[in-house]
């Protein structure tokens, strides 16, 4: 039942989807880190009304499975875009939105809620005594942020950021429901051609584990290198 001869051709087939997956994951990672940092700043600075909104957002997106968010975006985003465009008077066919854009938007919305938590944790690990010291030395708020806070906060966040990158990689596998082809979807397509399902899936498993190994060890290296300097 298990045929090892198809493993090699399958491997080449599935490897072809790796660059696309990594690029999409990187895009989502960057976008969600930006949005999540904004959320975290809102909570850290205790901005009145916005803070409650951020908490509500986080509760909503943590309670709902990502598949459902992806489907909601798939059916809800195009009409919403079209409606928004018509408000400002642009003729725009929302239903022509490519599926990968929908997937990126949906996953960014989900992961931002978690990314906010990561950034908040890193911000909270910052020792406020250093802020007092910087202020007493006459640092401005922006200088404090850029020269004292940022370098430490980034290093503190590295393990969690690596973890969230892997989570995004895995979350992209849900994209096959809306016809976005990543590593998992490619393994399914490959298997559908020759009916060797288990073989293709095992190759995908190996690819995912290798990527996870590289990402976590790379993050450890970077963290060790940066910690030595601070």
């Amino acid at each position: 039942m298990f045929d090892s001869e198809v493993l090699l051709p399958d491997l080449w087939d599935i490897l072809g989807a790796v660059p696309v997956t990594l690029t999409m994951a990187l895009a989502i990672f960057v976008l969600s880190t930006i949005v999540g940092s904004l959320f975290a700043m809102v909570e850290y600075r205790r901005v009145p009304v916005l803070r409650e909104l951020v908490v509500a957002y986080k509760v909503a997106f943590k309670g709902v499975p990502m598949v459902i968010v992806i489907f909601l975006a798939y059916y809800g985003l195009p009409p919403a875009l079209q409606f928004l465009a018509s408000l400002i008077g642009i003729e725009f066919n929302g239903h022509a939105t490519p599926n990968w854009v929908t997937l990126i938007v949906a996953l960014t919305a989900c992961v931002s809620a978690f990314q906010a938590e990561v950034v908040k944790g890193a911000l909270n690990s910052f020792d406020t005594g250093q802020a007092d010291a910087a202020y007493s030395l006459g640092y401005k708020r922006s200088q404090l942020f850029r020269r004292v806070m940022l370098p430490q906060v980034i290093v503190a966040a590295i393990p969690d950021l690596a973890n969230s990158f892997m989570v995004i990689m895995k979350a992209l596998s849900l994209g096959f429901a809306i016809e976005v082809v990543d590593i998992f979807a490619q393994s399914q397509l490959t298997a559908a051609l020759n009916f060797y399902y288990l073989e293709a899936f095992l190759i995908a498993v190996v690819i995912y584990m290798v990527i996870a190994y590289i990402v976590t060890h790379g993050a450890d290296r970077v963290e060790a290198a940066l910690r030595a300097r601070t």
């Binding site: 039942m1 298990f2 909503a60 943590k62 309670g63 709902v64 499975p65 990502m66 598949v67 459902i68 968010v69 489907f71 909601l72 059916y75 809800g76 989900c110 992961v111 978690f114 938590e117 990561v118 944790g121 969690d160 973890n163 969230s164 892997m166 989570v167 895995k170 979350a171 596998s173 849900l174 096959f176 429901a177 998992f184 393994s187 399914q188 399902y197 288990l198 899936f201 095992l202 995908a204 498993v205 995912y208 584990m209 990527i211 996870a212 190994y213």
Partner: protein, 235 residues
């Protein structure tokens, strides 16, 4: 779209979703205990396999794990010369148990290690066996440390049960698809909103239960070290 018809119909499929969840919860917990024991005792060879298993459970998407269970289980069953009993439901239970066990092991191990070093040493110097040490000294404290992480693990498990429809188990999601198709796919967005509400409620209940135990347990905690919980989704 008629909510008063749709919601009871979706709720009819809830028992299967809950059955898969509870099976995975219990089997996963047992698996996690075994795996964690091997990992913290550093049993040669076995602990390396346990590590490999944990990294499989944590770094491979749950959908893929479900498919591997679905296509791999018949082969395993074949090896033992048993009649093939693997249905999508069984595959979903096995796949999610494996996933949950690996994920939970990475919650339990840090909790075990987070118990103060002196407590381990004291138990060892009093001649406690590993079992006694776990049951009488380290375990009760580790439970308190592990609870927030355990709550997260349960919530992610509930989220991931939504994926079992891809291997053909007729859970709430699959029923929702049937309901949508019966209405000629007019109300997809609304149906998914209802699903989102159902899953949020399930998560809320799970969270409240774990929270109750956290509150009850807090008075048994010796040290006030809050456990570091990685707040990251798991799919």
């Amino acid at each position: 779209m008629d909510l008063s018809i749709m919601i009871p119909e979706l709720l009819l499929a809830l028992p299967l979703t809950l059955a898969i969840t509870f099976t995975a919860m219990i089997a996963g917990f047992v698996l996690a205990l075994i795996t964690t024991t091997f990992r913290v005792r550093r049993t040669p060879v076995v602990s390396q396999f346990a590590d490999l298993y944990v990294s499989y459970a944590r770094s491979v998407p749950v959908v893929l794990q479900l498919f591997v269970a679905f296509y791999g289980l018949p082969l395993v069953v074949d090896l033992f010369d048993v009649e093939d009993f693997v249905s999508p439901n069984v595959a979903a239970m096995v796949g999610l148990s494996l996933y949950h066990g690996g994920y939970l092991s990475e919650v339990l191990r840090p909790a075990y290690l987070a118990v103060e070093r002196g407590q381990h040493d004291a138990a060892d110097s009093l001649g406690y066996t590993f079992r006694q040490k776990i049951l009488r000294v380290v375990g009760p404290q580790a439970v308190h440390i592990a609870l927030p992480g355990y709550g997260n693990a349960i919530i992610y498990l509930i989220h991931n049960v939504a994926l079992v429809m891809y291997i053909g188990a007729a859970d709430v999601m699959a029923t929702a698809h049937l309901v949508m198709e019966r209405d000629y796919n007019q109300y997809q967005f609304e149906t998914y909103l209802v699903l989102a509400a159902i899953y949020s409620l399930l998560c809320l209940v799970a969270w409240l239960v774990v929270r109750f135990f956290e509150m009850r347990n807090s008075k048994f905690a010796l040290t006030a070290t809050p456990a570091k919980v990685t707040m990251m989704a798991s799919v």
